[in-house]
């Protein structure tokens, strides 16, 4: 049975050709399942603007975490014969804690991404593109490079694609660490061979991006939807959500932490968090109770068990005071400390700050210092108030990019829902048990730790 036949209804376009036991399809296998049909249709029968319209009508929203409508992003790019050099970049720098969906698409369906990039490049009139891949995804790099070589040999990439006039070269660029590279403009700086500091916006990359030229940066999952929209149309795409959301399409959802099963599942967008956790992830491990969950990564606000019935889409989760982010849920159970979880998240964010702007560079280590003290039961009077203030001082509008505001999301929600856990970490003048020794000295600051743990100085 062909792989596509297993999903004859075309309900799971992104993963329908994935067979973990058999591994990824090579070019011939992918073509046999209908692969590269979208590219042929696009190049031979459609104008770039036709594809842009289809994507806009489908209301595809960016799957990297922000949910910005892809069609609108594309529409800002200058078109026409005098537009000059333009670039397409795939953001495959998947480092958001708790997120492991793009790896699946790249490891198991590399040709889908290659075709998607060719179609997207045609739609925006780009002749050169890059897949910005985190260096640790070794297997992805190997499989993508193989797919690119195969596609090039068959004239799906390179000059005169499918005998026409348009050409598109595609390369895999592997990074060398640093979470901040996933920020759109930091990614562009990194790709240019610079330190990955974000750029001020505007100008937006669609106007002045890579090497100062109009550039589109899209996430892996976002791009992988494009060939299917070209093949099946905007109405088909919108119907994929089965009325669960006003957004269209499917979404790669997942679950990790102490759930019974951990994994990634392609489901209609708007599927409830409860279905993801209880049906697909099989509920909480050991029958422990769910205490809190992050909807989609380290920079999203915690939600509670009472929010589980919400539809996992961008607007619904926003209304509940969080963000869907990458859509891969991280669960915290009743035995686990929220203070320790927030400390871990803030340590990550402090270490990964690029240091470009002061609120982030100084505010995050400060946050960590307080969190470590509270975790050790040595919180000082005023610490909780300071943390609350930090969530404002590091909030939206005060920094170059979304790194620090994102870091404040789990903290502000933890303060809202679990304030008593923070209060329990305050140093109090109570009598010591005879067996208790003197309090331990404070742990080193994140910068001291990072310095001690780094070998790149």
């Amino acid at each position: 049975m062909s792989r596509a036949a297993k999903d004859a209804q075309y309900q799971k376009p992104l993963t329908r050709l994935i067979d973990l036991a058999a591994g990824p399809l090579d070019l011939a296998g992918y073509e046999a399942e209908g692969g590269y049909t979208a590219l042929k249709t696009a190049v031979k029968t459609l104008q770039p603007q036709d594809i842009q319209s289809k994507v806009k009508d489908a209301n595809l929203r960016g799957r990297g975490g922000a949910g910005f409508p892809t069609g609108i992003k594309w529409s800002l790019i200058p078109m026409g014969p005098n537009a000059g050099a333009k670039y397409l970049v795939c953001n495959a720098d998947e480092m958001e804690p708790g997120t492991f969906k793009d790896r699946l698409l790249m490891e198991q369906s590399p040709h889908q991404l290659v075709e998607a990039m060719a179609v997207a490049a045609y739609a925006i009139g780009a002749n050169l593109g890059y897949i910005f891949l985190r260096g640790e995804y070794v297997l992805c790099a190997e499989r993508l490079n193989k797919a690119i070589a195969e596609a090039k040999a068959k004239h799906y990439l390179g000059k005169n694609i499918l005998g026409g006039e348009w050409g598109f070269d595609l390369y895999v660029h592997t990074g060398a660490g640093r979470y901040i590279c996933g920020e759109e403009t930091a990614l562009i700086n990194s790709l240019e061979g610079r330190r990955a500091n974000p750029r001020a916006k505007p100008p937006f990359p669609q106007i002045a991006g890579l090497w100062g030229r109009p550039t589109i940066v899209n996430n892996v999952e976002t791009l992988c939807n494009i060939p299917h929209i070209v093949n099946n149309g905007a109405d088909w795409f919108k119907a994929l959500s089965q009325g669960k959301s006003k957004d269209g399409g499917t979404k790669l959802y997942g679950c990790s932490g102490l759930s019974n099963k951990r994994g990634v599942w392609e489901l209609p967008i708007g599927t409830s968090a409860r279905e993801i956790l209880e049906v697909h992830a099989g509920g909480m491990k050991g029958g422990r109770k769910l205490k809190a969950w992050l909807p989609g990564g380290a920079s999203t606000d915690f939600l509670l068990p009472e929010h589980l019935d919400l539809a996992m889409d961008f607007d619904t989760i926003s209304k509940a005071g969080s963000r869907m982010g990458t859509g891969l849920i991280t669960v915290v159970n009743e035995d686990q400390s929220i203070v320790a979880a927030v400390r871990n998240l803030e340590e990550f964010m402090a270490r990964e700050s690029c240091g470009w702007c002061t609120p982030c560079r100084d505010g995050l280590p400060w946050t960590v210092k307080i969190m470590r003290a509270i975790e050790a039961g040595q919180g000082q009077a005023g610490d909780i108030d300071t943390l609350s203030k930090l969530t404002k001082w590091l909030g939206p509008g005060r920094t170059f990019c979304a790194h620090a505001p994102g870091a404040m999301e789990p903290l502000q929600s933890a303060l809202k829902y679990f304030r008593s856990e923070f209060e329990a970490g305050m140093l109090s003048c109570k009598l010591r048990a005879p067996s208790e020794s003197a309090p331990k000295p404070a742990a080193p600051t994140p910068r001291e730790t990072a310095k001690a743990q780094s070998v790149n100085q």
């Binding site: 050099a85 998947e94 480092m95 958001e96 804690p97 708790g98 997120t99 492991f100 793009d102 790896r103 050169l128 260096g135 640790e136 995804y137 070794v138 297997l139 390369y171 660029h173 592997t174 990074g175 060398a176 660490g177 640093r178 979470y179 990194s190 790709l191 240019e192 061979g193 610079r194 330190r195 990955a196 090497w211 997942g254 990790s256 932490g257 102490l258 951990r262 994994g263 990634v264 992050l294 380290a298 891969l328 991280t330 915290v332 686990q336 320790a340 979880a341 871990n344 998240l345 340590e347 990550f348 270490r351 990964e352 690029c354 001690a452 743990q453 780094s454 070998v455 790149n456 100085q457």
Partner: protein, 171 residues
């Protein structure tokens, strides 16, 4: 008295750094991917690190010349990225994921066991130069946490009891 004066000529000279044929070839190959040569900076640093374990100070001006940018610019790039090593590392670099999913599924115990087995703290290299232990941000292996990488190999979930045997596979 004159014997006590330190003369410049007596100071140990830095070994001249010469790129191997293979390294030079790999850098030239990377340069072909970009309209601007600066973009090959990370590829060039990696080409050296892949074969020498780390990027020594002497390599910087040579690499900068090969890609046509200033040594100061390349130094800036080389010190920004956490996976470009500027000091010698062991034969195998262990990258332990310390992000939230692994934190919730046993990172502390895993790190504790690694520290115990290796006798070093994160950021250090074993005396026999076999292992360097480093933290890494989310490895995208949350379905297999607690996770780590040794060299190019991903492992997970790694229970503390598995550590000894796992390390034995890396001589």
């Amino acid at each position: 008295m004159s014997n006590a004066v330190l003369k410049l000529a007596d100071l140990p000279k830095a070994q001249p750094f010469v790129l191997s044929e293979e390294e030079r070839h790999e850098i030239e190959h990377a340069l072909g991917h970009y309209p601007d040569s600066r973009a090959a900076s990370i590829d060039a640093l990696k080409a050296v690190q892949k074969r020498r374990g780390y990027v020594c100070d002497e390599a910087i001006p040579v690499l900068a010349e090969a890609i046509g940018i200033s040594a100061a610019d390349l130094e800036g790039v080389a010190t920004f990225y956490s996976l470009i090593f500027r000091r010698p590392v062991g034969r195998h670099v262990i990258l332990v994921c310390d992000s939230i999913s692994c934190h919730l599924t046993g990172y502390d115990e895993l790190k504790g066991e690694l520290v115990k087995q290796l006798g070093i703290q994160p950021g250090q290299t074993t005396k026999d130069n076999r292992f360097t232990l480093l933290p890494i941000c989310c490895l995208g292996a949350c379905d297999r946490g607690p996770a780590l990488m040794i060299g190019d190999d991903h492992h997970g979930p790694v229970e503390p009891a598995d550590v000894k045997k796992l390390l034995e596979a890396y001589a």
